[in-house]
Symmetry: C2
Subunit: 428 residues, 2 copies
C-alpha cells in the first residue's frame, strides 16, 4: 500500500498536500554514489533501483538523474549551436534568510534541507550561482515531473496564438476519441487552465483508482498480477468518463489534463509532443543538450511529468520567458503569450482549488502565478523541481531535487521564502 | 510461434543459418516514413511498433533506428571533442560487381537488396562514400545487434593485455555466481573466442528454450502469461548448467558467451560495460555522438547485441583498428591486441563450428577473421550490420540495415562479394 501511495503522490501534487503527513524526522540527504545505489554487477539487493522502487526514497536520489536507464524515452532535439551562459558568480552559500518558521537559515542549509540535486540562478541573464549535489553535474538530465506541464502548456499557448488551436473549441473537436469522456466537451482553454470537471480519482488505498491506472498505463510501475486495465495513456484518458462538477469553474489540479492537452496539440499538428517542444522551444533557446521525455508503451510522451533536461537548459527557458519570449533577439514564445501567463488565470477559481500553501496565486496555461509584488511565476514539479521567474528582480532560478516526501506542504513555503529573500537582496 | 522464431533469430546467428528458409519472394524495402510507422497520436493499429513486434518486418525498419524509444538505455559517453572525418567522395552508386550468383549488380542495387539503412566507406581514413536510406541520417543511432559483441571483445582483450584480466583464469574466479554454471570452469579466453561447451539451447518451438528465456530476461519481448523464469540476464546466465561438450574445442557461436564476458569485465574492473566501452574506446576515437546500450531490468548492458551508435562513429572505430589501434597518434587499442585479432583464432576449431557461409574463417576476441588475401576482419550483426576492415585496401566499411530475414545465409555471400570487389577497385 505504501508503494501505491508513493507512486500516486509523485504525480498528483494537490492530493499530496492533504494526504502526506510529515515523518517525525526526515532522513538525511543520502548521496547516491556514497550510498552505492546501482553500484555493482549486479548491484546487491537493497541497492538496486527498479521500476518498482524508483519513486521511493532513497532510490529517488539515483533514479531522478537516470530515468533513461529505467524507461523508454523520446528525444527533444536542440538547435545546431548552444549559447554559452555568461557568468558573474556571487557567494551565496552563506546568504541567510528567515525560513517559514521565522528561523534564520543559510542558502546552503536551505539547499541541503530541500534535498537539492542542482540549482542555477541567473540575474540579468548571467549565472550568479550554480551548484550541484548528490552526484549531479551540468551534463546530467534530471526528471522535471510536473515542471513538464508548463512545457505542454507553452506549446498549446503558442499554437493558440498562431491560430492553430482554437482555445474555445471543445477537446472532442481535435480528439474524437475523447468525445464520450468527461473531457470531451471541455474547451482547450479549460484544459490549459485546469478548470475541468472531469473526475480523476486519487484514492491511494484503492488499486482501482484512476491515478493508479494512470501510473500503470504509463508503464511507470509494474502492473499488479492479472491487471486488466489500460496499458497506455490515451486509453486511460478515454476511460475517464465520470464528472465531479462543471467545466470552467473551480481550478482543479489534475495531471490527466496535461496529457489531454498533449494529445490535442499532437492531433492538431500531426506532430509528437517531443517534436513540438523541440521545434517550438528547445531548438531556439541555445540549449546545450537534447532533452528527453519518458514515453508510454505506444511511444506517447508523458506530458504531465516525463520531461528530463539539464539544469542550465532549464534556466535558458526561464531566461527566455524573462526576456518576454525572446532569445538572442529572436522570438521563441510570442510576447502576447508570456504577457498572458504573467497576467495569470482566474484567481477566484483558483481559490476554490484547495491550494492552501499558495494563497492568492493563480494558474494559467499550465504555469503557476504567485501574484506577488514582483510578479513572479513558475513551473514546478513534485520532489522539489522549480523554474522560477522573477521579472522585477530579473532573476531566474532553476532547481531540481529529490525530496523524500512528495508533497508541496513540505517544500512550498521554504522555497518561496528563499526566492523572495534572494530577489530582495539582488534588487538592492 | 512465428514471433518466437523471429525473436530468437535476432540473436542467434548460427542457428538461423540452418533454421531460416528464404521466403519465395522477399518483401520490397519499405521506408518507415512512407509506411507511416509510428505516425499519429496514437499510431493506428498495424502501424504501432512495440516490444511485441519490434523484431519483425516491416516494424524493424523503424525500430532499429529508434530502439531507445522502446527500451531503457545506458549512455556510452564520448570524449569532449569530435574529430571531423575528411571526405573525398567517389561515385560508387553505379559501381558494378558480380553477385554471389555471378550476375552483375550495381552497388546501389546491392544496398537496396540488402535493406541497407546506411553505409559509410572510408579509404585511407577519408570518407569516399556515405549513403543513408529508410529515413536514417548521420545523427541516427542504429541497433548494432551482434556487432556489439566485438566491443565487449575489445574491452576484454585490452584488459587482458593490461593484466587486469588473466585469459587463462576460469570465469568463476571473477564471477563466483557462475561457478555452478556450465561457464564456471571455462577460461576467459575460451569465452572470448566462443569455444565453450555450455549448452545454450535454441529450440524455437519450445518456449522453455534458453534463447527464449534469454530474450524475455533481457526484456526484449513481453513474457508469456504466468512466466516464472529469470527476469534479468545475469540470472539467465547463472541458470545455464547443461553442457554439450568440452570447453576449448569446437567454435560455438553462443550469444550468452558475450554477456558472460561483459559480466567478467565489469566484475574485474568494478565498472559497467558502458563505462568500460566509453573509457577505453568511445571517449578516445573522436566520436560525434554518445552511444547507448539497451539495458536489462537490473540496468545491465546487453553485451551480446544491445549497442546503438551512429554510422560515422562506427566507422571511426574501424579506422582506429585499421590504424593498428591508434587514433590521431594516440593509442586506443594496444597494437598487440589488434595484431592478435588480425592473426585470428583457431581455424580448425572454427571449421567444426557450423559456419558454411564462412569457409576458412576464424573467430578471435569476438571478431570474425576472413583470412582472405587482404587479411580482412569484421564485426557483424544479424539483419545486415557490418564493420568491415580491409587492411590491404586500407578500407573500412560501416553498414547497417534491417533485412527482413534475420539469417546470415541471405546476406553473407553478397556482402563479401561486394566488399571484395570494392577493395579490389580501390587498390587499383
Amino acid at each position: 500500500m505504501r508503494r501505491v501511495f508513493t507512486l500516486a503522490c509523485a504525480f498528483v501534487w494537490i492530493a499530496c498536500q492533504v494526504a502526506a503527513q510529515a515523518p517525525a524526522q526526515l532522513p538525511p540527504p543520502v548521496d547516491w554514489q556514497a550510498a552505492g545505489l546501482m553500484k555493482g554487477s549486479p548491484p546487491p539487493e537493497g541497492k538496486q533501483v527498479t521500476k518498482a522502487n524508483w519513486l521511493s526514497y532513497p532510490f529517488i536520489r539515483w533514479s531522478f538523474q537516470h530515468s533513461r536507464e529505467l524507461f523508454p524515452t523520446k528525444p527533444v532535439d536542440r538547435g545546431p549551436t548552444a549559447t554559452a551562459l555568461a557568468a558573474d558568480l556571487k557567494e551565496l552559500d552563506k546568504f541567510a534568510f528567515d525560513d517559514d518558521k521565522g528561523s534564520p537559515v543559510t542558502f546552503d542549509a536551505f539547499l541541503r534541507n530541500t534535498y537539492t540535486d542542482g540549482i542555477v540562478v541567473l540575474q540579468k541573464g548571467k549565472v550568479i550561482y550554480e551548484r550541484y549535489l548528490n552526484g549531479m553535474t551540468p551534463d546530467t538530465h534530471h526528471m522535471l515531473f510536473s515542471t513538464s506541464k508548463s512545457f505542454v502548456g507553452l506549446v498549446a499557448a503558442i499554437l493558440v496564438s498562431k491560430g492553430v488551436l482554437d482555445e474555445n473549441a471543445p477537446v472532442s473537436k481535435h480528439v474524437p476519441e475523447l468525445a464520450a469522456s468527461a473531457y470531451g466537451d471541455a474547451t482547450v482553454r479549460q484544459v490549459m487552465d485546469m478548470r475541468v470537471g472531469a473526475k480523476f480519482s486519487e484514492v491511494y488505498t484503492d488499486p482501482k483508482s484512476d491515478i493508479f491506472k494512470y501510473v500503470i498505463a504509463a508503464d511507470w510501475a509494474p502492473p499488479p498480477p492479472n491487471y486488466q486495465g489500460p496499458t497506455n495513456l490515451y486509453a486511460t484518458l478515454a476511460a475517464l468518463t465520470e464528472r465531479e462538477g462543471p467545466h470552467g469553474e473551480a481550478f482543479g489540479y489534475k495531471s490527466a489534463s496535461s496529457d489531454v492537452l498533449g494529445w490535442v496539440a499532437s492531433r492538431a499538428t500531426g506532430k509528437s509532443l517531443s517534436e513540438l517542444v523541440s521545434e517550438m522551444i528547445w531548438s531556439k533557446i541555445g540549449a546545450d543538450h537534447k532533452g528527453y521525455y519518458l514515453a508510454d508503451p505506444l511511444g506517447v510522451e508523458v506530458a504531465m511529468g516525463g520531461l528530463n533536461v539539464t539544469l542550465r537548459d532549464l534556466a535558458r527557458l526561464g531566461q527566455t520567458m524573462l526576456q518576454m519570449g525572446q532569445w538572442e533577439g529572436r522570438e521563441v514564445v510570442p510576447k502576447s503569450v508570456v504577457e498572458d501567463i504573467m497576467k495569470g488565470g482566474d484567481r477566484d477559481a483558483f481559490a476554490k482549488g484547495n491550494q492552501p500553501t499558495r494563497p492568492g496565486w493563480s494558474y494559467r496555461s499550465q504555469w503557476w502565478i504567485t501574484h506577488n509584488q514582483n510578479g513572479a511565476y513558475l513551473a514546478m514539479g513534485v520532489f522539489g523541481q522549480r523554474l522560477y521567474i522573477d521579472p522585477k528582480a530579473q532573476m531566474v532560478v532553476a532547481k531540481v531535487g529529490s525530496h523524500p516526501v512528495p508533497g508541496n506542504a513540505f517544500t512550498d513555503a521554504i522555497h518561496q521564502k528563499a526566492f523572495d529573500a534572494l530577489a530582495k537582496t539582488l534588487m538592492k
